[in-house]
């Protein structure tokens, strides 16, 4: 499940909180361009998107969002360094084949990278795994093992360890349980983690 589907409109509020007026924004896996159109209208951003599915690309272009039709993982190397102020990973990082490559490219082409992912360390996932003895299925991970788009499972601790090892900096982070923001014991209690990174 896409983080955005879980958050509904509340990720607009969150991302709007992070992105200042008139910045240059690239949304990876921008879908029908709803978020970018919203940022164009409310923040006057210079918006760009990447999306693979033709019908979503067409919907985005029809609403006036410039979109490049292509695969996110193969598309980033074309952009020059620091082409954007913000790059948002909507297609969540656990679905990418090479997460480290994607994150590295994001921080090369933009000053700030915004990443959200479902936390595999949430207590419900741990409990499901422990009690059933099978690949855990929860609200956020509803798939059978063989048809899951999630090919990497990561937790808040795993992600922060990667950030440290790469020498990146965490500028902001939010942890969400349902629609509520939480701060204590995020690795156990957060369903979704949202990070803003910089180099």
């Amino acid at each position: 499940m896409k983080v955005r589907e879980v958050l509904g409109r509340s990720d607009y509020a969150l991302i709007t909180e992070l992105i200042p007026q008139a910045s240059r924004v690239l949304d990876l896996g921008c879908g029908d361009g709803a978020l970018l159109a919203f940022l164009q209208a409310t923040k006057g951003v210079e918006a760009r998107g990447i999306e693979l599915k033709p019908e979503l690309v067409q919907a985005a272009v029809a609403r006036g969002v410039p979109v490049y039709q292509g695969d996110v993982e193969d598309s980033l190397s074309e952009y020059p360094d620091k082409a954007f102020d913000y790059v948002i990973l909507s297609q969540t990082v656990q679905e990418t084949r090479r997460p480290l490559h994607v994150l590295t490219q994001m921080l090369r082409i933009a000053s700030h990278a915004i990443i959200a992912f479902p936390n595999f360390g949430h207590w419900r996932v741990r409990f499901a795994h422990l009690s059933s003895g099978r690949a855990p299925r929860t609200r956020l991970f509803p798939y059978a093992w063989h048809d899951s788009p999630n090919i990497h499972f990561l937790t808040v601790l795993d992600f922060e360890e990667l950030v440290r090892s790469q020498g990146w900096r965490i500028e902001r982070r939010f942890f969400l349980s349902g629609q509520k923001r939480i701060s204590r014991l995020p690795n156990l209690r957060a369903e979704i983690a949202v990070y803003m990174l910089t180099t």
Binding site: P54, V57, V61, G64, P66, Q69, Y79
Partner: protein
């Protein structure tokens, strides 16, 4: 919407070859209203054998070649935009070309017409646009050779274009594209009626021109669209003729298209315009394609079609990636279609939504930039 073709005259055009043409005529049509600030004009650029009659219907009731895209509520919405289209330099549909009289002799140029380029075509279009008092076009748009002109406009006249829409096209002709053009040219030149291009007082090289068109038509379709349209169906018979008359539906179609073409197209124009396409390489004067596109200041919308094997998507992607490498504002869509290269002319459903959205944004941003 009855469309009238109009003629504008220009005294002189300097060509890329170093030669000059004098006393030129340009045929164009316009649809919709030019606004007071002359800021809502869209120049449509036709493909190889197209003409100025892009939209509406003419006096004989014939619809324009892109009539499904131009008009009220269509992709190029004449309620909002003034849409114009001119026959290209070297053409045979009203603009000066090899069949036009050479002012020095009063006789048709024939093969004494100088070799022209896509750049020459665009410079003449620019003269037309300026003569209409339009300082900046909201957009230039075209498919195939029209797309090459859209790219050339963006690079040659960066201040005169707000948006460029190259469709089903390339930044440079490939060996395969040149090869198909050469087959067409050889079919014409090898026809005994060709007479070194001096056939205007006798009969034109109809066989050669028809064969050239037949080859062209094959490249405009796809394996799938031909299978759907013709399959192996026989034409007006139940069994093979065991001869070389028309057996198959597809043979009949190609012969019909070939012979029909002879009546409306000049064999010399065929030679000159295909040569202009073959010479086209947007990057030729620059270290790279990206470096040439760096001159452009417009927004781009690039469209390709999945089944187009004449101008395959990889060629559009070359353009798009060169633009992305310079952080240009570029939109790219690869549309799913079975129609091959012809898709840009016939498969207009998805194109319409994309173009309307893109143009509306451009108009908004152009107004804001005023």
């Amino acid at each position: 919407m009855i469309s009238e073709t109009q003629i504008v005259r220009f005294p002189e055009l300097a060509l890329d070859s170093g030669e000059k043409l004098r006393d030129l005529e340009v045929a164009y049509e316009g649809y919709g209203e030019l606004n007071e600030r002359r800021s809502n004009a869209i120049l449509i650029l036709h493909a190889f054998t197209g003409d100025a009659h892009a939209g509406g219907v003419d006096h004989e009731g014939k619809p324009g070649w892109w009539a499904n895209m131009i008009g009220p509520g269509k992709a190029f919405d004449t309620e909002h935009y003034y849409v114009l289209c001119a026959n290209v330099l070297g053409g045979c549909r009203g603009t000066t070309g090899p069949a036009s009289p050479d002012p020095a002799t009063g006789k048709p140029y024939g093969m004494s017409f100088p070799v022209i380029t896509i750049g020459d075509m665009v410079r003449l279009q620019h003269m037309l646009v300026e003569s209409l008092g339009i300082r900046r076009l909201l957009a230039v748009a075209g498919g195939s050779m029209g797309g090459m002109q859209a790219l050339e406009w963006a690079v040659s006249f960066p201040d005169a274009v707000f948006a460029s829409i190259p469709i089903a096209t390339t930044a440079r002709h490939s060996a395969q594209q040149i090869a198909f053009n050469e087959v067409g040219r050889q079919a014409i030149v090898g026809d005994p009626d060709f007479r070194g291009g001096d056939f205007y007082e006798s009969s034109p090289p109809a066989r050669g021109l028809a064969v050239a068109r037949m080859v062209g038509h094959i490249t405009y379709m796809s394996d799938e669209s031909m299978r759907e349209k013709f399959g192996r169906r026989l034409r007006g018979r139940e069994e093979f003729s065991f001869g070389f008359d028309v057996d198959f539906e597809v043979e009949s179609y190609l012969r019909y298209r070939g012979s029909q073409f002879v009546g409306r197209f000049d064999a010399n124009s065929y030679l000159y315009i295909t040569k202009a396409m073959d010479y086209f390489d947007l990057s030729s004067a620059y270290p790279s394609l990206a470096a040439s596109l760096e001159r452009a200041r417009c927004r781009f919308l690039v469209i390709s079609f999945t089944s187009d094997w004449l101008y395959p998507s990889y060629q559009s992607l070359e353009i798009v990636n060169a633009l992305r490498s310079r952080n240009h504002d570029v939109t790219y869509c690869e549309l799913t279609s079975n129609y091959g290269h012809d898709a840009f002319l016939v498969d207009v459903g998805e194109q319409t939504g994309i173009l309307r959205g893109f143009l509306a944004r451009c108009q908004r941003e152009a107004e804001a930039a005023q």
